[in-house]
């Protein structure tokens, strides 16, 4: 047995609510409509950049924080406030069932308040002082948004921010799954959020990882990612009514390279196999994979090899990054919500810009809307540091 293998299989947990925010909109219905219509949210960046790229910018008006939390105001915390409002009803029910200290807040971000620090630091470089109102500890740190979420939701349980780059939004599902099964908490608000940042865009440009066009996962001429922003929150409970449940999460490392995936996708394969093992099911019981599918040469080829080795049957594989952009730390949470929607609504969005397909990608990548029954769905997320997560959701 390797580290991370549960000796006793942990059972599924109901997802009793979720909310989502991305370039596709600020409500579940807006996301369903866009995914069903094959309508991308990618477009020009809302700020000036010295290079061409498409981004998935959130265009929803974001709520102001209450006066008592005003010092914590950042774009990220306002996005989280929007998501909490969208989770109001299930949160109200959870608060009636569980004590506040038995409700955890386990989230993911890679940018945290970097967008605020960028603006403040640019001012510092220009005039030698930080702008009034900028507070490093309340706006920059990874822990600062936790204060906002706890205050807005009344949750008083364990709270931490996972920051494992592009798997950050998926890993909190695993943390909550363990803590609930360990008997420490009864419910958890999980998910992730990230904002567009100049630094992130310049960084991926420096790696030559940005496509000038909207990203084209699995396309033969794909040239890289389109960065997006947004977030999703899911409410996970020990018991409760939910049409979808978290069945398991696989978590592995490549131990290969700090920023490049293993070219054969061994870590990705291990994460998917671990998720299946933890749930006690075989590959044949998976109906769909929401791929990490960033649109980079390396990622998509490695992931396609990994999926091809795990699944003998031609299950539909779609990357939704062509809709939202790569929302980095939010991706794992947003795509877990998309996986839940596939189970609930019985359709998969068409893969956009994936044809002509890379001949090395030997997967079924449907380019038209696919309807059917999707009882179990895997959602993959991979990250810098060789970090791999595969989230398995199933119908209740």
């Amino acid at each position: 047995m390797s580290a991370g293998d549960p000796t006793t299989r942990l059972g599924p947990l109901p997802i009793t609510g979720y909310s989502v925010l991305s370039a596709l909109g600020g409500t579940r219905q807006q996301h369903l409509d866009a995914l069903a219509a094959g309508r991308t949210g990618l477009g020009p960046a809302p700020f000036e950049l010295p290079f061409a790229t498409s981004v998935g910018a959130v265009r929803e008006p974001l709520p102001d924080l209450p006066p008592a939390l005003a010092a914590w105001t950042t774009r990220l915390s306002r996005m989280l406030a929007h998501l909490i409002a969208g989770l109001d009803e299930p949160l109200r029910r959870a608060r009636a069932r569980w004590r506040p200290e038995r409700i955890g807040v386990l989230l993911g971000t890679s940018t945290a308040g970097a967008e605020s620090t960028e603006r403040a630091y640019r001012e510092f470089v220009r005039v030698g002082s930080f702008p009034n109102g900028y507070d490093f500890l309340k706006q920059h740190t990874f822990g600062a948004p936790l204060h906002v979420v706890a205050a807005l939701t009344g949750a008083r349980g364990p709270a931490w921010m996972v920051s494992t780059a592009c798997t950050s939004g998926a890993k909190p599902l695993a943390s909550a799954w363990r803590l609930i099964h360990a008997g420490v908490i009864d419910a958890a608000i999980v998910g992730g959020a990230d904002t567009l940042c100049t630094m992130t865009l310049h960084g991926f440009q420096s790696l030559q990882a940005l496509d000038q066009q909207p990203c084209r996962p699995f396309h033969k001429d794909r040239l890289g990612i389109s960065i997006g922003e947004g977030g999703a929150l899911l409410l996970l409970e020990r018991t409760g009514d939910g049409r979808v449940r978290l069945e398991s999460v696989g978590e592995t490392s490549d131990a290969y390279h700090i920023s490049a995936p293993h070219p054969e996708g061994h870590g990705a394969e291990a994460a998917m196999r671990q998720a299946l093992q933890f749930a006690g099911i075989g590959p044949g019981e998976i109906d769909h994979v929401n791929a990490h599918g960033t649109g980079t040469k390396l990622n998509d080829t490695a992931e396609a090899k990994a999926i091809g080795r795990v699944f003998a049957h031609p299950l539909p594989v779609v990357s939704t990054k062509c809709y939202t952009g790569h929302t980095l730390a939010a991706a794992g949470a947003i795509e877990a919500v998309f996986a839940a929607m596939a189970i609930e609504e019985g359709f998969l969005p068409p893969a956009l810009c994936s044809e002509p397909r890379d001949p090395d990608v030997l997967l079924h990548v449907p380019t038209s809307r696919t309807t059917g029954t999707f009882r179990r769905v895997l959602s993959n997320s991979f990250a810098f540091g060789g970090n791999n997560v595969s989230v398995l959701l199933g119908a209740s």
Binding site: P6, L146, M161, V184, M199, G386
Partner: protein, 259 residues
């Protein structure tokens, strides 16, 4: 709030002039050890790693060796409040102060999980690794995440917490602190040779608060894990605070192993 009891199998520590827990316990500073060496990393990745990554590599290597666990399989949790903020400020300087193209190498190690990634590469560890933050509550959070793993997998778990000083340019925005890194290997309670056992809880009043740390160490958001490691090293039993009074007040109820 009480978490299940777990065993402590190994510890590690790094702070300026005390490059290991044994230097700290012996009270013998090494005046040449002003920066962590990151000797557990291979040469290429040591060059990539900043001070934070090197310190975390050093303390995790010490804890793994003391616990005699397999570094290639042990689940690994890294905690840091501000992570690679210094690297980020360096990138912002490249963009705006020096008007230079951004260094791709610097960008790839600007993520919070750069250290956990480098440590997994050094240990050839293809298991679970994560990187978390919760301001002054990071030590408590790392312990909670570790205990969740120990209880549900019945396997040992490595955790390490560190913060380097906040970037100098932000010094006016944040209180100064010195680099501090600590690590611990936890395992299932009651079965294996151990240094002691602990229960993380919220509510009890702390009875142990090691006084030996310098004020610049106490100001570090990760002081709670260092206090716990210090108490373990000295064979103390009691209730150790996991933050310096600015966090949520989590504690570790520590029971030393008989010696």
């Amino acid at each position: 709030m009480r978490f299940p009891r777990v065993a402590i199998l190994g510890v590690g520590m790094w702070q300026p002039t005390f490059p290991s827990s044994q230097h700290w316990l012996a009270g013998t500073p090494d005046e040449t050890a002003l920066k962590p060496l990151g000797l557990a990393l291979d040469r290429v990745n040591r060059r990539r790693a900043g001070q934070l990554g090197r310190a975390l590599a050093d303390v995790t290597a010490e804890a793994i060796a003391m616990a005699k666990v397999d570094g290639s399989t042990v689940a690994t949790i890294v905690g840091s409040a501000i992570g690679e903020a210094a690297t980020m400020i360096g990138l912002l300087d490249q963009m705006w102060r020096h008007q230079q193209p951004m260094s791709p190498a610097d960008f790839t190690v600007s993520v919070h999980n750069a250290a956990s990634g480098l440590i997994s590469i050094a240990n050839k560890n293809r298991g679970m690794t994560t990187s978390i933050a919760a301001d002054e509550n990071t030590p408590a959070a790392a312990l909670m995440e570790a205990i969740g793993l120990v209880v549900t997998t019945d396997q040992p778990v490595l955790l390490a917490c560190a913060d380097e000083p906040a970037p100098e340019n932000l010094a006016g925005q944040a209180p100064p602190w010195a680099m501090l890194a600590s690590a611990m290997v936890l395992g299932p309670a009651g079965r294996t040779p151990q240094l002691g056992e602990l229960v993380v809880a919220h509510g009890p009043t702390a009875t142990l608060r090691p006084e030996r740390f310098a004020p610049l160490a106490v100001a570090n958001p990760q002081i709670g894990l260092a206090w716990l490691v210090d108490a373990v090293l000295r064979g103390h039993s009691g209730i150790v605070p996991l933050d310096a009074g600015t966090g949520r007040g989590f504690v570790a109820e520590l029971t030393a192993a008989p010696r």
